[in-house]
Symmetry: D2
Subunit: 281 residues, 4 copies
Amino acid sequence: MAIKLGKNAYGKNAINLSKIIRHDDCHEFRQISVNVSLEGDFETAHTFGDNSRILPTDTQKNTVYALAKEYFTGSIEEFGIHLSKHFFSKNPQVSEVKIEIAEFCWKRMNFEGNPHTHSFVNGGNEKHTTIVQQNADGIYITSGIKDLLILKTTDSSFTNYIKDEYTTLKEADDRIFATECEASWEYSSDNLNFTEQYDQIRNLLLKTFADHKSLCVQQTLFEMGEKVLENYETVKEISLKMPNKHHILFNLEQFGIPNRNEIFIATDEPYGYITGTVIRD
Amino acid sequence: MAIKLGKNAYGKNAINLSKIIRHDDCHEFRQISVNVSLEGDFETAHTFGDNSRILPTDTQKNTVYALAKEYFTGSIEEFGIHLSKHFFSKNPQVSEVKIEIAEFCWKRMNFEGNPHTHSFVNGGNEKHTTIVQQNADGIYITSGIKDLLILKTTDSSFTNYIKDEYTTLKEADDRIFATECEASWEYSSDNLNFTEQYDQIRNLLLKTFADHKSLCVQQTLFEMGEKVLENYETVKEISLKMPNKHHILFNLEQFGIPNRNEIFIATDEPYGYITGTVIRD
Amino acid sequence: MAIKLGKNAYGKNAINLSKIIRHDDCHEFRQISVNVSLEGDFETAHTFGDNSRILPTDTQKNTVYALAKEYFTGSIEEFGIHLSKHFFSKNPQVSEVKIEIAEFCWKRMNFEGNPHTHSFVNGGNEKHTTIVQQNADGIYITSGIKDLLILKTTDSSFTNYIKDEYTTLKEADDRIFATECEASWEYSSDNLNFTEQYDQIRNLLLKTFADHKSLCVQQTLFEMGEKVLENYETVKEISLKMPNKHHILFNLEQFGIPNRNEIFIATDEPYGYITGTVIRD
Amino acid sequence: MAIKLGKNAYGKNAINLSKIIRHDDCHEFRQISVNVSLEGDFETAHTFGDNSRILPTDTQKNTVYALAKEYFTGSIEEFGIHLSKHFFSKNPQVSEVKIEIAEFCWKRMNFEGNPHTHSFVNGGNEKHTTIVQQNADGIYITSGIKDLLILKTTDSSFTNYIKDEYTTLKEADDRIFATECEASWEYSSDNLNFTEQYDQIRNLLLKTFADHKSLCVQQTLFEMGEKVLENYETVKEISLKMPNKHHILFNLEQFGIPNRNEIFIATDEPYGYITGTVIRD
């Protein structure tokens, strides 16, 4: 029984790039992290150390900086498409290019209602993401959001679940629902107003989370996905990951103090992890 | 020459507490991390394992949760003062109590101009901090801000510095100035509107950073401290730590592309680290 | 076009468990982190908030602690199998159970050649991992190693690669090869001496890395996988992830000092990322 | 009341440097992270943006790499002294230089008793540290260890502590004692065999921890410090930080299973934090 190479890929990760876009009256500041990954005819590199088909990851990195000057002017999706097309067209040995971009969130400072022309404050861990994949069949765009930490103080319950010999959890009519949400959705086209789509879908996800009367995390997750598919024909399917950031009621009663859902222990681990994809039939 | 115990302390760190404050028309959500540290007559614990003067760190933790119900209703400074007074008055063996609190930043969600009654999005790594110290002489409040990531795209230069045999840095008339600022200032009183003071001082620090024509990080640091002392008689002194989050110009010229301060490599390490205290004479 | 639930799962992650195994003459200490994940008939939880088929993640966590007393006595693979069988047999609504376990590395202290009976020092970030998956077709064991930071100072080169307009990398006849290796291999049986298999495969991976004359990372990756498949009939296939932890030659020549592969800048980002699976034909 | 500059400093942090030392029969590999910090006459930089006395942090970084070629051949303490003397002697405006170095732990691979000539595996988070400080009065060396994760499964108790209204902790005759120890000790000379001193003191700290019958963390901390001062006249004083990495007994009894100190929940937060300095009288 022979031994051989199976699925493989290589590329450069964490290409950290920032750009100042200089307008007449103000500056824009953008910061992204880019991953490049290539699949293709690389078998002889593995079996013989033949690098003649290998575009070095260092060159991939240089290429990202070089193309950013002209092509990173709008959405990360459009920049990803430019990068993908560059690597795909110049490298016949490559069967699939994957470009992943995460954009950090910088907010323009604002003093007494006046936006500052060139100063910014970081907007937190939340990132806008995209994955652009290109192969012989075409080009595919999956965008999303990650590290989005959201929380609601009510309209969340968890009751009527299975009880067995190891059950100690008490049913909760009213609990904190906190999650570090990650969502990613596949677009049906590579020619959209991606920035507008992102802003609207992000807002819809937040609003659905905020307004939902949640009977369990799964139900809220599905509702969030369903709303996006209902409202955006441009979205083929959406996946959500919703780790439960538990806030556990502290037992004040042992000290004779009532705790009417007021004081909680915030914990990181262990955590519930709920994932799901919402699709079109 | 005898061997003996020198300076020592003990306590509980990272007491992670969250609280829902339930108003008629909306909820507030607060999340803090509390450290308790005690100094005092603990020599026999060290030398004989005598725990009779040791208030366990587990009990310190319980106390923080128990007191939060009644006393964590306003500023973290006021809650810190309550905690400090509790430990100091109940434990005669304690010569100094130190309470450190960091408050996480949660922002109320807002849809089409309407603030949501009970849903929040995390506001990033920035934290409001306080250190309350109490001993026989009194009680001292040092508040601040940490993990405040700020950036300006211009009005920063660095020229006319020392050159020696190991100099390779080029003078910069116009560079990105980015820092993860940490500031802490000592108040002259334990009876202030701490929330208002904090909001105003934070805003002044940001505005000074944004508007300053910087010739070096040191100059901006001093200007930020000086402005706070000039405007707030309630502040005795202020310390600032300003690690330089370097954005390094990428060499596009090697590819025949001009880089007019547009494309940068964002790096974490190594980093310049500038610290200073601004005081009253 | 209807909208419906696609692939989904839920469970508890980061169940951090430690165990003392008390022998007559010494103690063993084990520390693991367990993830439980369930797939199955959970559609009504998503669509109606019906929790009647939901085994709470809190109960999953309790179950792991409860079963550890009797069943976590040997390899993490055997404990994973016990956990998997428990959840699969007790929950008819579940179509697939996935148990992931990572074991931390604690080394017994040793003084002048004498192993200590009950004291340990942490052995670093390296972890032994396993994934046990059970469904109607059977039970599948994929074990591995992660966060294994290894480095060789020579016998690694990188030459004869593609050059294009964005190439700046110089060919290297002799370079540092450092990687934070992650490997995972699927066993052909659920009835093996897993601890012995792991120790031997780990050693073979290290030895192959150490002795290989590397022409590129891909070649070393393939050689490591090939050796495992050649020597262990119990392994069906193996996947390796080898991020390149770059050590970049510092330009001492600019100061008139020769750098004969002696002084390097250690960098974390960006990093080359090479992955591959080695299979049987 | 005038406003003026108080204490201040600046420098470069996280200068990550690796070195291959090439012997005839094998290679050594060393990896360090260096911080440089300068105090001195920098007032006009703060008040006027006058950089004429500022040695850029970029140049500090270059200097560390340049001097490593000739001077980083033995202990980190000796390299730190060389760096310190360089900056102090060349910069009359500097009143104090502080060099901090942390050395990462790489272990030579060993196969069947044979040490490999050029391959290494990372030895974990533990780091050997030193701080070299130089001013007009002389040069001072404080070395230590950090991120040393150690644990004992018995010979640790905690009883007879204060009980109050918020006490819930049960007395423990036998508990796990785990800590991520940080120790730093000041040497009385800058002319010692620092590597030998470090290895011996590290071993003594571990052995004392392992063999101590602990009545509380404070007692073990003091014993560890006392033993170092008793055995090493070269050490003036020693400070220890011992955060308690709690392993909490899991309540198996609620499921009818006895837990004879076997199954624990490993937690990171909150954590007890015990610090102390042991001095000579």
